[in-house]
């Protein structure tokens, strides 16, 4: 079924690129959403099967695929609203947007399920291509700048991953010299040459940081999320980050079974800490609401990686946190479009008194803020608390205290800006042109935030089992 899915998605994507008819476009994109959902269900029923040699429907892939499908359904709806209400819509931009949308989701889903590092790499390349088309949607000077930076940094980082794969192939023993699947790597974990493996890990990790949004390559993602349309930015800050995580996590699983475990967790931990630090520094001074949300994603990815580096309960917490963050952050980016429609601006100085103009939207913003800063009773409170516990258990008390201080700064900066937007009126804001926004458009955001709280506070047994299964190969 994976081959028909890939061919079908590429076909739909090509059809969208080539066809400029509005009705055909929307039929095709809904067909794609249906195909994606059907494929997810199929994967759910064929748990642990391997198809077409290179794709295994394992626990991690399954969790990520379902998260992606949950996000793309509202993303398609909000994209429809966005494109239809946009002033500069042309048949060409609409067709390109939806074509790139389908291609991006296909590439990300395939990367989740791939069991071979080179296959993950190929699909990562495709996401760069399709994401750049989404970022360049507005076709103006600033969008071009953002796209150029994204493409260039992603191209460099994809080259880094490739070098890492070459070094990885050198670390293999001669007997298994042509098999780079994760399964074979874990099987031969005692025979891997550690010095080549070290170089491979450094390069692969650095390469994937552009996608997951960690230090040192996080800058590309920030500019991209700033310039991409809201629904596309939601994809960039959820499913693309998940893809970067999967790329790092699967290779980390291999290296964690070798004597390099401690060294690798140190590398991951340093990158994670620096990401949180950078996020805190920028959150204080950032005055663009969209960039602020993007920096908040950098912070959360730092926390996820900190959980991974700390080990123990941190492994579980990392995956839980990643899933919850994807749900909450995408709903925040969906909500951003309503905000922009009211104020026609994204500078925090020009936003204010949102409760008056769009009450439902303001409630979403408030709830999303509570979730994203991990205040109880949001779901992310649970996962973040588990990450702190894992740090405590691995005797990283000093690190834990510094991270908590940085998080306090982030919460303060975030709260200061969000409460200004919600309550404080803007001087000489022209109220006459404020459009009425239907509360129905916020339903999907409520569902996503509510779903995140549910998954965090009362996770269903099957979800817990899947997470436990995906971290089964890591040493405890």
């Amino acid at each position: 079924m994976i081959i028909p899915y890939l061919i079908g998605s590429v076909g739909i994507s090509l059809g969208l690129f080539l066809n400029r008819n509005k009705t055909v476009n929307y039929i095709l994109i809904w067909l794609f959403v249906f195909l994606q959902s059907a494929f997810s269900v199929y994967v759910g029923f064929h748990y642990n099967d391997t198809e077409a040699t290179y794709f295994t429907f394992d626990a991690l892939g399954l969790i990520m695929l379902f998260t992606a499908t949950l996000i793309i359904i509202p993303a398609a709806i909000h994209s429809y609203i966005y494109i239809e209400e946009s002033e500069e819509k042309t048949p060409k931009t609409r067709a390109t947007y939806f074509g790139a949308f389908a291609l991006l989701v296909m590439a990300v889903s395939a990367a989740f399920l791939a069991n071979h590092i080179a296959v993950v790499w190929i699909f990562t390349e495709i996401t760069t291509l399709s994401a750049s088309a989404l970022i360049y949607h507005h076709r103006n000077k600033l969008a071009l700048e953002g796209t150029w930076k994204y493409v260039f940094i992603c191209a460099v980082s994809i080259t880094f991953v490739f070098i890492g794969i070459l070094f990885l192939s050198l670390s293999l023993p001669k007997a298994a010299a042509d098999d780079l699947s994760y399964k074979s790597l874990i099987q031969h974990h005692l025979l891997l040459n550690t010095s080549w493996l070290q170089l491979a890990f450094l390069f692969i990790f650095t390469g994937f940081t552009a996608k997951i949004g960690l230090f040192p390559m996080f800058t590309a993602g920030i500019d991209a999320k700033d310039k991409a349309p809201g629904p596309a930015a939601a994809l960039l800050s959820s499913i693309i980050m998940c893809m970067g995580f999967v790329g790092i996590f699967r290779f980390y699983t291999v290296i964690a079974n070798t004597p390099l475990m401690r060294w690798a967790s140190l590398v991951v931990g340093i990158a994670a800490f620096l990401s949180i630090f950078i996020a805190a520094v920028y959150m204080i001074k950032v005055k663009n609401i969209k960039r602020m949300m993007a920096y908040s994603s950098v912070e959360h990815m730092g926390l996820v990686m900190l959980g991974l580096a700390a080990g123990g309960i941190g492994y579980y917490a990392a995956i839980l946190h990643l899933v919850l963050h994807s749900l909450v952050k995408s709903s925040l980016f969906f909500q951003y479009n309503q905000l922009y429609r009211v104020y026609k601006n994204k500078s925090i100085y020009q936003l204010g008194n949102y409760f008056k103009y769009n009450t439902t939207g303001a409630i979403v913003l408030l709830l999303a803020f509570i979730s994203v800063t991990a205040m109880p009773p949001s779901g992310m409170f649970v996962s973040e608390f588990m990450i702190f516990r894992s740090l405590f258990q691995s005797n990283q008390l000093a690190l834990l205290i510094v991270v908590l201080l940085l998080l306090t700064i982030i919460i303060w900066a975030f709260a200061k800006n969000i409460f200004k937007i919600l309550f404080i009126p803007v001087v000489d804001f022209d109220e006459s042109n404020v459009p009425k926004i239907s509360p129905w458009r916020s339903v999907s955001q409520f569902l996503l935030i509510g779903g995140a709280a549910y998954l965090g506070l009362n996770p269903p047994m099957i979800f817990v089992d899947l997470i436990q299964n995906s971290i089964r190969l890591l040493p405890h």
């Binding site: 390349e125 760069t128 490739f162 794969i165 070459l166 001669k174 005055k287 500078s347």
Partner: protein, 210 residues
């Protein structure tokens, strides 16, 4: 002979560090393509003929003809000045490139149990870091692209080193080459040339936090 070619490849890096004119850079990139063609021809003796022909065609047609011709056209069309205008003096660049090469030699000696020809490792890694340095020290967007192409050449040299055991990786390298070059050169350099009158990175600083 293989080693001679690789050392010539390394020397092109030093030349890149001190060269001043854009056309020299383009000629050097073409020369690197030819060198990679010869290296691929000598190194990949155990892979099947069709694959070898594909690799050779990619190096000679794509790396040493198509990309340089295209870069020249971009230079002409956008009236880019002939000087490279680096941020640092050429002498410093030369010293940094030398340091990079020395560090990679030390690194290659510290690798235990080498199942890779050391000189491939040194050439590939120093090309990679020189490319990164090239990107950081030059001002124009087109020189950034050239820096990226230098990195690609280094990676390609490294993939040739393991090419006999894993031809698949060489093919992936070719895919990366074509994909990234088409994406970066084809679409965006053209677009950027049209939108921004003088292609200088200083113009790409409008995305700010506040």
């Amino acid at each position: 002979m293989l080693h001679v070619l690789l050392i010539i490849f390394l020397i092109t890096l030093f030349y890149l560090a001190i060269a001043n004119r854009m056309t020299t850079y383009i000629n050097l990139l073409a020369l690197q393509g030819v060198l990679l063609f010869l290296v691929a021809f000598m190194q990949l003796s155990h892979i099947n003929t069709v694959n070898l022909v594909l690799i050779l065609l990619e190096t000679i047609v794509f790396k040493s003809i198509a990309v340089p011709v295209f870069l020249r056209r971009v230079l002409k069309r956008n009236h880019i000045t002939r000087e490279a205008e680096p941020f640092v003096p050429n002498f410093v660049s030369l010293i940094i490139t030398t340091l990079i090469v020395i560090i990679t030699i030390i690194l290659s000696n510290s690798m235990q149990e080498n199942n890779l020809d050391k000189i491939f490792f040194v050439v590939a890694l120093s090309t990679l870091f020189t490319g990164l340095y090239f990107i950081a020290s030059r001002r124009k967007i087109i020189t950034h692209v050239m820096g990226y192409l230098i990195i690609e050449n280094g990676v390609f040299a490294l993939s040739l080193a393991v090419g006999n055991e894993m031809p698949m990786l060489v093919n992936l390298g070719i895919m990366l080459d074509i994909f990234a070059s088409v994406l970066i050169l084809g679409i965006f350099l053209n677009k950027i040339g049209d939108v921004f009158k003088d292609i200088d990175v200083n113009q790409l600083t409008n995305l700010k936090d506040f």
